[in-house]
């Protein structure tokens, strides 16, 4: 293992020891404060083209587990941590984090003063970063010249439809780079699931006779997606119970006339209290968004705000006044993170049961 460097677009350099892949990579830098679930975080496709900084001091103690994949081929661009454990203590003891990252061409750096880095990011805001062998001018030139794709969903969403059969309700999931946690939650409820590419048209979806439709999580800015996606949302929400999650929530807001704001501080973690407006209950839920629906842009004749992050006051949930359609910015599949958000999935199934009323 040799010394490697994390360099930021603002010119700062952090030195540590490389693990995982030896590749030189570029990505947006983002920090996550969750203390468990490193595997779920790294394999979450919202981190496409991102370099993830863990504030948890140590990760990797449990190795790689068969039941903690949020995607099989992760597309993050780096993992930055203070201390990585190169052990595998799960049942098969086959794969550790180091080997896993090598296999997926993701470089990691351990031994970084991640607290200093996070405090710096808090001051300077989101930016590009690179993992390199030498932090010389050339490396910074390369970083500054790098243009990261805005077609992130295309890079991670399924191009083909596939089933996840079950014996219960029929659920269609429109995939923008979905977390497998969503599928696991649906399996728990015996749903008969079909995952469809986001380019699908309304008729194809309806031809599957779905009891409900989910617009999945995914990476990037939804405004980079084609208009057809918003049209699909508008047509489906009138016809079937519908849930938007993460990117799907942002699409739901945009499709219903709201606009997005870039969050001054992206929050990635599981420890913010989110208030369920109607009950006043506080939920702790996994979050990881760079954008939020602008509360001043919400057309209250159409949408109701259902959830608010108490810490940064960002809109975390919306519901349509006329249709059985709603959305949450956080990840109700809770992988990783607290389980109280899974009640959102229960709500979708309650809607399915009562949909005749609509």
């Amino acid at each position: 293992m040799s010394n490697r460097y994390l360099i930021l677009a603002d010119g700062s350099t952090y030195e540590g020891i490389g693990f995982g892949s030896e590749a030189t990579t570029f990505g947006h830098i983002v920090f996550n404060t969750a203390m468990t679930g490193y595997q779920e975080i790294i394999t979450n496709q919202i981190y496409h083209n991102q370099i993830i900084v863990f504030s948890a001091p140590t990760i990797g103690a449990g190795g790689i587990n068969h039941d903690a994949y949020e995607s099989i081929f992760p597309t993050a661009k780096g993992v930055i941590v203070r201390d990585v454990a190169e052990v595998s203590t799960n049942r098969l003891k086959r794969m550790n984090l180091d080997k896993f990252l090598t296999r997926h061409n993701i470089p990691g750096i351990t031994g970084i003063d991640t607290r200093a880095l996070i405090r710096h990011l808090r001051e300077t805001g989101p930016q590009k970063a690179s993992i390199v062998d030498f932090p010389d001018d050339h490396a910074f030139d390369q970083l500054n010249a790098t243009v990261l794709t805005t077609r992130q969903v295309d890079a991670v969403a399924t191009p083909r439809a596939y089933p996840n059969p079950g014996t219960g309700s029929t659920v269609v999931v429109i995939d923008f780079g979905l977390k497998h946690g969503i599928l696991r939650q649906l399996s728990l409820r015996n749903a008969d699931v079909t995952v469809l590419p986001y380019t699908v048209d309304t008729e194809t979806v309806l031809s599957l006779d779905p009891d409900a439709v989910i617009f999945s999580t995914g990476p990037g800015d939804p405004r980079d997606l084609p208009n057809s996606v918003f049209e699909l949302m508008r047509q489906l929400q009138e016809r079937v119970p519908l849930l938007g999650i993460g990117l799907g929530h942002e699409i739901f807001g945009l499709a219903n006339g709201a606009s997005l704001v870039k969050l001054p501080f992206e929050h990635h973690g599981t420890n913010h209290p989110v208030k369920e407006v109607i009950t006043n209950a506080l939920l702790y839920v996994p979050q990881g968004a760079g954008y939020a629906v602008d509360p001043t842009s919400i057309d209250h004749a159409k949408l109701i705000t259902t959830h608010i992050d108490i810490i940064d006051n960002s809109v975390q949930g919306l519901r349509h006044r006329d249709y059985p359609a709603f959305s949450v910015a956080f990840f109700p599949d809770s992988a990783p993170g607290p389980l109280e958000g899974t009640t959102v999935i229960d709500e979708l199934f309650e809607m399915i049961e009562t949909k005749d009323r609509f």
Binding site: Y14, F31, T33, A34, M35, T36, G37, E40, S55, A56, P57, T58, A61, G62, N65, D67, A68, R82, D83, A85, V87, T89, N90, G111, D113, T114, R115, A116, I118, R119, R122, F265, H267, G269, T270, N271, H272, P273, K275, N280, A281, L282, Y284, I310, I311, S334, A335, P336, G337, P338, L339, E340
Partner: protein, 830 residues
Amino acid sequence: MIKPKIKKVLLIGGGPNDFGRESELDTAMIQIIGAYAEMGIETVVIDENPYSLALEIPKIGTYLQAITAENIKKIIEIEQPDAILPACGGLTAFNVLGELLVDKDFHLMERLELLGVNQQTLELINNPGLLANRLKQMGEPVTISKVANSVEDAFDVAREIGFPVNVKPVSAHFEASRQMANDSESLDLALKIAFRQSRTKQVVISQDITGLREVGVAVLRDKHDVNMLVGAVEDIDPVGIHAADSIIVTPVQTLTDREFQRLRMAAFRIMKQLNIRGIAHIQFALDPKTDSYFVIKISPYFDMNSSLVARATGYPLALVCASVMIGIELEKVKLPSAFASKMAMIEPVMDHVVIRFPVFPFGEIENAGIKVNHRLNTMQKSVGSTIGIGRSIEEALEKAIRAAHFSNRSFSPHIMNALPENDLIQQLIHPRDNRILLLIEALRRGYTVDELAELTKIEEYYLYKLRHIMELERGVINNPGNIELLTQAKYYGLSDGLVAKLWQSDFDSVRGLAKDNDLVPTYKAIEPSAGELPERVSKYYSTFEMENESSQLGEKSVLIIGTGAFRLGDGASGSYITATVLSELKLNGFQTIIMNNNPNALSLIPRLADKQYIEPLEISDVMNVVELEQPALVIVPGNRIKLITALRNRGVRTIVLPKEKYMPHGPLNGEHEYAANYYYDGKNSYLISLTDHIAGKLMMDREVLNQFVTKNIPLPKMEFASPGLYQLVMPKLPHKSSVEGGQLRPIPYGQIAFMNKVTGINWLRIMVRDYVHCLTDADKALLAKLPEITWKYQVSELVANDTDFFQHLQPASDLDTTKFEMGVSLKILG
């Protein structure tokens, strides 16, 4: 009848210190009293512990009385409080309230509101058998258990469940431990102890779960069922070693997110079912092989675990609890301005590792020639603990060990070389207090991680970490003077002292070498958001990284060196002394800095000092802080002779709090020992009080002092450099005008606390004011007419707690309860 608004709260204290009871309860209580004062709520406190700082808070109601149902009844009659809060009194408070609740004539629940728990839950907590049944009804997995009313009954149950079984008393007088019984012989012994401890003469026999992993979570819940996880800890040692004797890690390392979240939800369900408002610590045993868990303990009160979590995360747990317990929703909790707004609602996250390391009394007792059993089991043997904070497991562990043994002699890597192979294996299977050293030695001898995991049931992850420490030590040993290895060693928490030992050098040269190569510590803040939110922080720990967040507090700061882990004879009293010194300095306008590492210490109460360093107290650790802070003054306990010398050699102004290196012996059975206690201001001595000491009891009587004074005994010539509190110990009270066979020494810390409470004058505060030249005219007047002043209590005694040493330590003979004091209570006789 529930009153509409709570205006006055009665808080029950924890009583005398004992195994499993340090200063954590008083620490919580002091913060809660402060929070209530700010809300305009009056508080009344009852406790009998002379080391209670809560009892000395001005402008509140204080009752220095034994915590009994009778006394509490009387206080309720006098004070008419609106509510009673047992969470600062641990299981003692729960038991006493249990007695009050069954008192049919008193109608407790009609008189006031019970805070934190309801009546049903209080009764369940007092009765493990009923609690287990209730948990089972709720669908929570518990070990199979049954209540037995007699020894015969117990044997029937044990045969039904099958050996090994655990035995625990119902409604124990104190925090009682589970005992494991493998066969009828050990069951017989365990039953004897357990029946003796039970108020109801009942015991619970339960299925043994030795070897599983132990995880504890601290949860907060408000009246609207908002639950929050404050923190979670993982024991490195498996179930079978008492949680207080285990090495404990937070944040949890070896659980998958899924395993972890399941326990979190189970804890929330339990909080809801038991309708707990406030804090609870819930312990689980986890079996990763079968993917199952058991609930093993529920403590809806402050304890060492919640204290650890609060210190580790920087979350203002006691302040938030104060609000939540009187019915304020989590969302509406107001915190002092030093905290980020809404901090109360954020689930704490950590960017550092905290390891708690137990401190055992075996060495001290064996030095006195008494053999004790070193084997760890379900009965607590540790008497104190330290925490190490770092950015890796290795660093946190090294710092915790160093804090526990500040003369790292007992942790030298060579100490195990001579251990025969058979003994090594025996000790691996039957762990003792030295197991970390033993494991490192086993790794050194070539045992594999797999083998050790199998023998010890310790998670492989931690064994890999120990192997890394072993490799680091080996690298250092083989490369004297090598900077790269020194850098590595320091990055992973090895101290200058340890490296010096490995290099057969001295710490000063190692420190010099490190400094010459820019190897200086960086201090990081302890705050609950892991860097996400800006916060005004006052708590720090050291590591060796890029950014240093701590800057000099001020030109005229005072650094106080704490007393570290509790030890036999010298636990809570040291905590009381340090906290009082801090408080007095602050009152006199000094900026204060505390260095300490005991998670239960009073001195680490948030905001008691302006700045806290949670650090080991080896000379190097102290010097590093001294160099950064450049304090105008350092205050050090007198038993830290090497540290004092080192500070003075560097020209640092140092004040020594008089203290003997070892705790003095008490008188033998049947003998008296008298002491005249003096305040010495550097020139003159002033006689404060006389004590009459017999085994297990220290008496103070104003009338005896009067008689002594009339004899006009000349004051002894003080030969001490520092002003302070000293005593002349005499085998009998002199009849002649000179003292023969006497011995002058600093007054033991515990007796200072006793004297303060009894005379109603805080002598320690006067001493501190004298040190910093802030004696008031009132102080001077007081000293001038000392013989005439009246005491708060005329006759009183300090009585050793009836700690069951035999049960915990199995010493070969009785222990001297002065030298090996575990806890005392103060009794007012007139």
